[in-house]
């Protein structure tokens, strides 16, 4: 279960940017907010892998295209253009507004039970094929490299191994992230492409509706809702059951009923 009232209430990890009290000693240099931590990691990625706003724009626009199809999401029929992306204000450079996830008030829940019990229920069975978990340090300033594989690589390897598949077998991804650059590195570290290849991988709407590999089909945490990992997990389950509202989603990939990747 995840419920959140970030819009009307308070979120602890956003406090650095929304409360006037300095969070730690680094504030003496003007450092505030998690956005800044990820912005610095993204900047190093730009330096090492020639990634950057051109690719991140693709990620933001493709997710918005999915959101435009989702009547329950925050940006139904509300498109995002290249100009919208590049003309938006900086949050902490190199992140502009649409590189960042939204905040929302909502709750979501997912029930996990045995296959035997699930088969007796009304809804179609959605099976968890594999699981993995890994955690890296949250103190990004002291990490030995801000661009080396994140814990998604270890967690992903565990889950793929348990499921007996590789990234090549995955038909669609419903992932959890906070910024466009983390969508990039999460897919990289799951093994969808190698460091430095992200620009090509995300090009030409590859993750958009009607595309080769749908990513964040509700609009995700940028354009549907920010309900932590429950946004992607519940969307994935609904897609696999075929219960989401729009037939166009099913025609796109939901009817294939194959393999889905959650983060």
């Amino acid at each position: 279960v995840c419920s959140d009232n970030a819009t009307s209430g308070h979120r602890s990890f956003a406090a650095g940017a929304t409360k006037s009290e300095p969070p730690d000693d680094n504030a003496a240099f003007g450092e505030f907010s998690r956005v800044a931590h990820f912005a610095m990691a993204a900047r190093r990625g730009m330096h090492e892998f020639q990634t950057g706003p051109e690719m991140w724009k693709e990620i933001a626009l493709n997710q918005r295209k999915w959101a435009n199809l989702n009547p329950d999401g925050a940006f139904y029929k509300n498109p995002l253009t290249d100009d919208d992306y590049f003309n938006a204000d900086w949050v902490v450079e190199p992140f502009r507004l649409y590189d960042c996830c939204i905040m929302s008030d909502e709750g979501r829940a997912c029930i996990v039970t045995s296959k035997e019990r699930a088969r007796d229920l009304k809804s179609p069975l959605v099976t968890i094929m594999g699981l993995g978990e890994a955690n890296s340090s949250v103190d990004i300033h002291q990490s030995s490299s801000m661009t080396s594989p994140i814990s998604a690589q270890r967690a992903g390897a565990m889950a793929f191994d348990m499921a007996g598949i590789t990234a090549n077998d995955v038909d669609a991804c419903e992932i959890c992230y906070c910024f466009t650059s983390t969508v990039e590195i999460t897919h990289r570290d799951y093994g969808f492409f190698k460091p430095g290849e992200g620009q090509d991988w995300f090009a030409n709407g590859r993750t958009a509706p009607g595309s080769e590999i749908p990513v964040s089909t509700s609009g995700g945490l940028f354009s549907d809702s920010y309900c932590m990992s429950l946004t992607p997990v519940t969307e994935g389950v609904m897609q696999l059951r075929g219960v989401v509202a729009l037939a166009s989603w099913g025609a796109t990939w939901g009817q294939r009923r194959r393999t889905l990747s959650f983060v």
Partner: protein, 87 residues
């Protein structure tokens, strides 16, 4: 293991971020400004700020050196500025 060393005050910019919005009133008159992770020649990294140059000229791996700044309240802080001599 933690130990004290005498650092040269020289290093290079590992990465940086540019603030165009002040998240605290104390920085309203400093916009835009930069925070950076500086990798010292001795190997340690330190969170600091970069001053004394155009923000558009700042790059990762750029050589920098310390300049000491007395902040309001009397705190002395290690800022960094582009190096006068390559390190």
């Amino acid at each position: 293991v933690t130990k004290w060393i005498a650092a040269s005050g020289r290093g290079k910019i590992y990465t940086f971020a540019v603030y165009h919005v002040a998240f605290h009133d104390a920085f309203k008159n400093s916009l835009p400004y930069v925070t950076a992770v500086v990798e010292l020649d001795e190997g340690s990294r330190i969170l600091s700020t970069i001053t004394g140059c155009d923000i558009g000229d700042i790059r990762c791996d750029m050589p920098v050196e310390v300049i000491w700044r007395t902040a309001p309240g009397g705190f002395v802080l290690p800022d960094f500025t582009p190096a006068t001599v390559d390190t």
